[in-house]
């Protein structure tokens, strides 16, 4: 298993660099909340290989860092072909004038060494125009097969220092991999790095699987499977790929399971006699609690990050709308009041927003609103957009986009919560129902 053993400050140079990190008025600051911004130019020359076996990783790590940063739409790479000076030693003085000349405002330098199957990556960020280090240098050590994670950690650190937000690159996405035509679609659970690398399949495609969700620590996945012939809730240990059925197979349908922040309670939908209500369950004891008892459809629940409330969808008003209620059940307050139907609410990990799917006039949208329903903002529009999930920093949303017609297929897309930087996420086959993990440790 890929594991990162340590993140260490890099010695003396680190102390000198700390001063630069404190400078709030430096040019290297991206305010993500601002409207249209010019991407910040940066350079990330190949890292310096310090052992013979490190050379195969040194260039690749720099490429993954560049893909992470440029992929946000907030940064623009100054390509290697434009570089004037070459970084030959991690501790050699940086020739800032050479980087200023190519207008790289940020510079990332690093070194890689390999000892057996241990890989060590050291890096520093530089504020080129201030001629200072950008924060402190860091070192990550892990196994060689975890090299991409170390690159993501470097990119997270750089992103975090320049935007003031926590990063999200060292994260995974669990989703439903799809193949075959619309009327014979094969589905299986898959997990991948947030950027589509390292795809691993967790189930075979013998049974329909739907809507997976990570546990708060990212080690387990809840999902719905038709393995028994009826939709039932399963929990899967991602490392062991061991599964367990949580709901009984007595002909009742249970689906839409989500973890509470405690990692032990789940909330889900159960259908009895055609009526769908919300329940919670302690997955250790199996004890269930009914949360709603209305003749309407109650489904697609999502906990607030503090675990005190649940947002869900209900058609008790006559059409699908969003409601918030206490986590233990009780009176629900409607929060969606715009035109059309609202579903699949997901509470932001920051706690400040709720993402949702909206259907209006034959179009589907992904949108966000405050938790009281105010400041609704639609981020996308298409024939069928559905099922948002939040990046761990609450700044980016991934969702399913299904194309129209008999050849239609589902793919994953991501978009910033500003509505900028809409782009597809690379997957080997069709893909739906993404759910983002927390940042990995």
């Amino acid at each position: 298993m890929r594991k990162i053993l340590a993140a260490l400050l890099i010695g003396a140079a680190a102390a000198a660099g700390a001063g630069a990190a404190m400078a709030q008025d430096g040019p290297l600051r991206i305010e993500i909340d601002q409207g249209v911004i010019e991407p910040l130019p940066y350079a990330v020359p190949d890292f310096v290989p310090e052992t013979p076996a490190a050379s195969e990783y040194a260039a690749q790590i720099a490429r993954v860092i560049a893909a992470d940063l440029s992929g946000t739409g907030l940064f623009r790479e100054v390509p290697a072909s434009a570089h004037i000076s070459k970084v030959t030693g991690f501790d050699s003085p940086v020739k800032y004038a050479d980087w200023k000349a190519v207008n790289a405002q940020a510079l990332i330098t690093g070194a890689v060494s390999v000892n057996g199957n241990q890989l060590t990556v050291r890096f520093r960020g530089h504020d080129v125009f201030a001629e200072k280090e950008l924060g402190t240098g860091l070192q990550f050590t892990g196994t060689t097969d975890g090299w991409r994670r170390m690159a993501h950690k470097v990119a997270d650190a750089i992103y975090s220092r320049i935007t003031g937000e926590s990063g999200y690159f060292d994260s995974r996405v669990v989703y439903v991999s799809e193949s075959g035509p619309k009327n014979d679609r094969r589905k299986r659970l898959a997990v991948m790095d947030y950027d589509g690398a390292n795809v691993q399949y967790l189930t075979n495609s013998a049974s329909i699987v739907l809507a997976p969700r990570f546990s708060p620590t990212g080690d387990r996945v809840l999902y719905t499977s038709y393995e028994s012939g009826f939709p039932q809730i399963h929990v899967l240990d991602v490392g062991q790929v061991q599964r367990k059925v949580l709901s009984s197979g007595d002909g009742t349908m249970s689906f839409a399971p989500r973890f509470a922040p405690d990692g032990r309670t789940i909330v889900y939908s159960q259908t009895q006699g055609g009526n769908t209500d919300l329940f919670s369950m302690d997955i250790n004891t199996g004890a269930k609690t009914r949360l709603t008892s209305a003749p309407s459809i109650e489904t697609a629940p999502s906990f607030s990050p503090d675990g005190s409330q649940i947002v869900f969808e209900s058609d008790r008003s006559g059409s699908q709308q969003l409601y918030v209620m206490p986590a233990g059940g009780g009176e629900a307050r409607r929060i969606s009041f715009g035109q059309g139907r609202y579903g699949t609410p997901v509470w932001s990990p920051r706690g400040d927003m709720i993402a949702f799917t909206k259907q209006n006039k034959g179009r589907f949208h992904i949108g966000v609103m405050r938790t009281d329903g105010s400041e609704e903002r639609l981020l996308t529009a298409s024939f069928l957009d559905e099922g948002p999930t939040w990046a761990p920093n609450g700044r980016v949303i991934m969702f399913t986009r299904e194309s129209q017609g008999s050849a239609g297929r589902a793919l994953l897309y991501s978009v910033d919560i500003t509505g900028r930087n809409l782009k597809p996420v690379k997957t080997p086959d069709g893909a739906s129902d993404p759910a983002w993990s927390p940042l990995q440790n």
Partner: protein, 167 residues
């Protein structure tokens, strides 16, 4: 419930029985334009094929609805009579939705549709313990165009026979 309407619906179903294809699509529109008269072959009235093709194994629904139209009720009356006469069979009623909805809502909506059919069959004398319901939401469309012509056929509750000793 008007007895006259039921009788008309039942006649429509019988008329459609002779039609070779798409009979449930036509019945969903009230059975208008059903071409009668062509021989349907000699299906054994106690066979599952007769249940599927002559009685009609499915009913269709309006967008985001689970109420049974008069035509749907007529088909279910035929199903109930058949199930009463062929008491060896148990059934699973599968509820489905078209693709114009979110996944989990459509699962719940499909369950509503399947349950509406089940409740109606119970009202017509079929024992509840013979009938399970399951919803596939939008996971198993029959027709794959993204137009109402296809959507209308996908919004369905299908009565699937199982456990027949004679079938």
């Amino acid at each position: 419930m008007s007895g006259l309407k039921l009788a008309v619906a039942a006649v429509a179903v019988l008329g459609l029985a002779a039609c070779s294809n798409n009979r449930w699509d036509d019945t969903a529109n009230g059975g208008a334009g059903a071409g009668a008269g062509l021989g349907a072959g000699a299906l054994d009235p106690a066979s599952p094929a007769y249940f599927q093709q002559t009685i009609g194994d499915r009913v269709l629904f309006a967008v985001d609805q689970s109420t049974l139209s008069p035509a749907a009720q007529g088909i279910l009356q035929g199903q109930a009579r058949w199930l009463t006469q062929n008491a060896d069979y148990v059934v699973t009623i599968e509820g489905h939705a078209d693709e114009q909805g979110t996944r989990e809502y459509n699962l719940a909506l499909g369950a509503r549709r399947a349950n509406a059919a089940r409740e109606y069959l119970i009202s017509q004398g079929v024992a509840g313990h013979r009938m399970k319901v399951v919803s596939y939401g939008k996971e198993r469309p029959l027709e794959i165009c993204s137009e109402e012509a296809c959507y209308a056929k996908n919004r369905r509750a299908v009565t699937v026979l199982a456990g027949g000793l004679t079938g």
